[in-house]
């Protein structure tokens, strides 16, 4: 069956089974491989994308459900929050193996779009669904606070 999906601002016509997880449509069909497979059961967060602005696990989202949604992946996430997050990640050299970081960044950007000055508790809530097997958590937390500071500086 054919589905029209909106990914990174473009419409794509995808011939696939409606049950195909969005993750594999992104990776195998659209060649957007920045979104990773880590567990397949929404336990690790490596596959996080934005669906209508919300961070969602693409590994358990069937194609037929997201066919009318706006999807954004790591390759195209942009705006002040995304820039601040990336700058903070770079300044602190957050990644080690890096495999989870697309998902971490997508979650961090979504957090900062809703909470300007997240507390450590807010960070825990927003980020605890994302596993980092290299345990870069402390740098992720610090980078989120850095990015929040940058964004506050921009608005005042």
């Amino acid at each position: 069956m054919s589905y029209a999906i909106f990914v990174n601002g473009q419409i794509h016509h995808v011939e696939d089974d409606g049950q195909t997880p969005l993750l594999w449509v992104l990776r195998d069909t659209l060649k957007l491989t920045g979104t990773k497979y880590g567990c397949g059961v929404a336990q690790c967060g490596a596959c996080t994308v934005h669906v209508d602005g919300q961070p969602m696990r693409s590994c358990t989202l069937p194609l037929e459900i997201v066919a009318s949604s706006q999807i954004t992946t790591i390759e195209a996430v942009e705006g002040a929050e995304a820039e601040a997050v990336r700058a903070a990640w770079l300044a602190r050299d957050v990644p080690q193996c890096g495999f989870c970081q697309s998902g971490q960044i997508m979650c961090a950007v979504a957090l900062l779009r809703t909470v300007g000055s997240p507390t450590d508790g807010d960070v825990d809530t927003a980020m605890s669904g994302n596993i980092c097997r290299c345990a870069t958590y402390n740098r992720i937390r610090a980078a989120i606070h850095d990015a929040a500071g940058t964004l506050r500086g921009q608005t005042t």
């Binding site: 089974d17 195909t20 997880p21 594999w24 990776r27 195998d28 069909t29 060649k31 957007l32 491989t33 920045g34 979104t35 990773k36 497979y37 880590g38 567990c39 397949g40 059961v41 336990q43 690790c44 490596a46 992946t73 790591i74 390759e75 990336r86 990640w89 770079l90 050299d93 957050v94 990644p95 080690q96 193996c97 890096g98 495999f99 989870c100 970081q101 697309s102 960044i105 960070v123 825990d124 980020m127 605890s128 669904g129 994302n130 596993i131 980092c132 097997r133 290299c134 345990a135 870069t136 958590y137 402390n138 740098r139 992720i140 937390r141």
Partner: protein, 732 residues
């Protein structure tokens, strides 16, 4: 772009001699330094008559381009540990290169050019320290000579700073690029002069930062999972759900009805399904009907295996131990006041976030492999065997790995070999083998299950007088007498006061495959030795730090003493702490690096909460303080995950933990703050990828001992009922 002359000279079997491509190669000056490993000789054999896979690009470790950039070739596996950064810094320091114009490229597999390509044992920094400093210094010497000749001045009057070559008297200066042609005509120095550590301008500074962060925050980094070649197939394999099970028969008729499923066939490790995309391969595999022959399979459960291990440790089976540590009369009778300690450790999966995978293509005699693999040279040998070719025909493109922790380095090259066996069926089409998380969790090569049993008698001074220590563990590799599982006990400074030491390992054999897991033997011996020592200190009514201090002092363990002193200072050891909290300490030496950690712990709702870890490390000359800290933080998270949660258990031979819901990984809200302090040292540098792991479990257990008065006798601490009755005491 041909440079047969260069290639030939580069491959000359000259020991301790700089080999230089004496001409410009594609606009680049190539400088290399032959690996001096005796196995270099084997390179010619391994490569057979095959040619260098990429003679113009890979081979030497250093290239300097017409664009003035310095390129360092990393022959090791980058799996997150930041080795590419440390290796590049060695070159850049001696070359006085501008660090901002240094890049790193990963080498393909090429034994003759690089020597063995094996990334293991936190050894890459130590084993490249001479090679890469020499490569950088040799290039520097040649630029100095070139500039001196061009300007008619003495080499002593030439300086290099940030890739600019200058003459102080005349004010003349030139870039590397401007001097490239002249420098390439210089005779390479036999033994270039190396800097003294006090003259370092880059090494040991906060400027030594990762070179791979940008692609890792934009989604641009290509891992094996992301490889997409023209005409490529995706494969999944139905493996035996029990270790040692063999394929009996299968029916793929339903699988082959699924659109985009191309083929299904038996291979040595199960039934492979190949498809045009990943989800189709998955659906195809799910649709297989497979029967397994379990006549030689492991069908026991974890509690049963532990009972068996306890029998082995007690000498009640026919398994003969291997003696790994003795002092005095090892058969001496121990007195009635002997203290007895037992510990049980379960299998642990590495669970890197990128599950095992590999891309392979067989084209006649030529094999191409793309994978993030630790033991590239071994993979070449195994691949040649499977493909009926010679290792020199095996081209391995080594990709960054989405974590590994030892899993991508097995003695059998398991997932690489599996991918090649599939590729033999695809008529030359490239195939990408994808393991699901469940495949990865149930796929073995675990940190072994381990049982420790120790009997210790204290002397009148309260220090160990006799120490008997039995370990039961499967071997990780079939050579070496299982010494790896005794590392951390062997040569322990805690034996210094003992007149009798009797250290033995028993190595039962069963079908569950075991392998190297980050910190290897120290992943359990560190817990055992460091938790025992706190219990002995308690018995002797001594502070654990004082007790260690006395033993290190008598053992002449200067590095341990320095770490202990710094650790006490930085952790606030001995100072008051809030009610309900306690500090626990542990100090281990792993692969030459000494690490001490103090954990601040309380018990909340029956489980330990760790809020802060103070860490001190002596890894010789620190190359990248930032990455040393990063590895300390990551190792603590990794070790704490194992201490609290880590267990792969069997029920009737079936792995019970198949994904992150049943094999929890420490998450953001559980991560303690980490403070890392680096001991100043002028000793040769040692590794950081693993040595931060061992101390955290005993540091937490030692704090819990203070809080509860009870020792920890098995891991994980939060085992629930996962280990069955493994906590049953065998003290008699």
């Amino acid at each position: 772009m041909t440079e047969s002359k260069v290639e030939k000279r580069r491959f000359a079997m000259t020991r301790r001699r700089l080999i230089l491509g004496g001409s410009l190669v594609g606009g680049a000056l190539v400088v290399g330094y032959t690996a001096t490993h005796p196995m270099q000789v084997a390179g010619a054999i391994l490569q057979g008559g095959g040619s260098d896979p990429e003679p113009s690009v890979f081979g030497p470790f250093v290239r300097i381009g017409a664009d003035d950039w310095v390129t360092v070739v990393n022959k090791h596996q980058e799996m997150g540990q930041g080795i590419h950064t440390a290796l590049a810094a060695m070159v850049a320091e001696e070359l006085d290169a501008d660090w901002d114009r240094v890049r790193v490229v990963d080498a393909r597999g090429n034994f003759r050019a690089y020597g063995p390509q094996l990334t293991a044992g936190s050894n890459s920094v130590a084993s490249n320290w001479d090679t890469l400093r020499n490569a950088g210094a040799a290039a520097r010497t040649m630029f100095v000579a070139a500039a001196a000749a061009r300007w008619g001045v003495s080499p002593q009057s030439i300086a290099i700073r940030d890739s600019i070559v200058s003459h102080t008297g005349s004010g003349r200066s030139a870039t590397f690029a401007e001097l490239l042609t002249d420098a390439s005509r210089q005779t390479p120095p036999q033994a270039p002069e190396l800097k003294q550590p006090e003259d370092y301008r880059l090494i040991g500074t906060d400027r030594v930062r990762r070179k791979d962060t940008v692609p890792k925050i934009t989604g641009g980094q290509v891992y094996t999972q992301d490889v997409d070649l023209p005409d490529m197939l995706v494969a999944m394999v139905a493996h035996s759900p029990r270790f040692g099970g063999k394929l009996a028969r299968f029916d793929a008729s339903d699988a082959l009805k699924i659109p985009a499923v191309v083929d299904a066939f038996a291979i040595e490790t199960g039934v492979a399904v190949v498809a045009e995309n990943t989800f189709a391969a998955r659906r195809g595999r799910d649709a297989l009907r497979v029967e397994w022959d379990d006549s030689k399979a492991e069908t026991r459960s974890t509690p049963e295996l532990f009972r068996y291990y306890h029998e082995v440790a007690a000498g009640r089976t026919d398994i003969e131990p291997n003696v790994l540590e003795t002092k005095g009369h090892p058969d001496a009778q121990f007195g009635s006041d002997v203290l007895e300690f037992t510990f049980d450790f379960p299998y642990l999966a590495h669970a890197p976030l990128e599950p095992m995978n590999c891309v392979a293509q067989i084209d006649g005699w030529d094999i191409k492999i793309m994978s993030g693999t630790q033991l590239v040279t071994l993979d070449q040998v195994h691949a040649a065997r499977i493909g009926l070719t010679i290792p020199g025909k095996v081209d391995i493109e080594v990709l960054p790995a989405g974590g590994s922790f030892g899993r991508r380095g097995t003695a059998t090259s398991d997932f690489v070999v599996e991918c090649l066996r599939i590729a033999r069926h695809t008529n030359g089409r490239p195939v990408k083998l994808i393991w699901t998380r469940e495949d990865d969790m149930a796929g073995g090569f675990y940190r072994p299950m381990v049982h420790h049993r120790a009997w210790i008698e204290l002397g009148p001074d309260g220090f160990p007088a006799r120490w008997r220590h039995h370990v039961v563990s499967q071997e990780m590799v079939p050579i070496g007498g299982n010494f790896q599982n005794f590392e951390g006990i062997t040569g322990s400074p805690y034996f210094v006061t003992a007149s009798v030491v009797d250290g033995k390992i028993f190595s039962p054999s069963h079908p569950v495959q075991c392998g190297f897991w980050r910190s290897v033997g120290l992943s359990h011996t560190g817990m055992v030795m460091e938790h025992i020592i706190d219990q002995l200190a308690r018995q002797a009514r001594r502070d654990p730090a004082d007790y260690r201090w006395a033993l290190y002092q008598r053992a002449g363990a200067a590095r341990h003493l320095a770490v202990l002193n710094e650790l006490c200072l930085k952790s606030g050891w001995g100072s008051p702490i809030e009610t309900g909290w306690a500090r626990g300490m542990a100090i281990t030496e792993c692969f030459g690096t000494v690490v001490g950690q103090v954990a601040e712990v309380r018990i909340q709702e029956g489980r330990p909460v760790v809020r802060k870890v103070t860490a001190v490390v002596d890894c010789g000359i620190p190359i990248s303080p930032d990455q040393i800290a990063a590895q300390m933080e990551g190792s603590i998270g990794f070790g704490l995950t194992a201490a609290l949660y880590g267990a792969v258990t069997l029920k009737d031979g079936f792995v019970q933990e198949t994904n992150f819901d049943s094999y929890p990984i420490l998450r953001m809200n559980e991560m303690p703050t980490v403070e890392t302090h680096i001991i100043r040292s002028a000793n040769r540098p040692t590794g950081m990828g693993e040595p931060g792991v061992p101390p955290i479990a005993p540091a937490v257990a030692n704090a819990m001992l203070i809080l509860t008065g009870s020792p920890t006798t098995s891991l994980p601490i939060l085992s629930g009922n996962a280990l069955g009755n493994s906590n049953v005491s065998v003290r008699s």
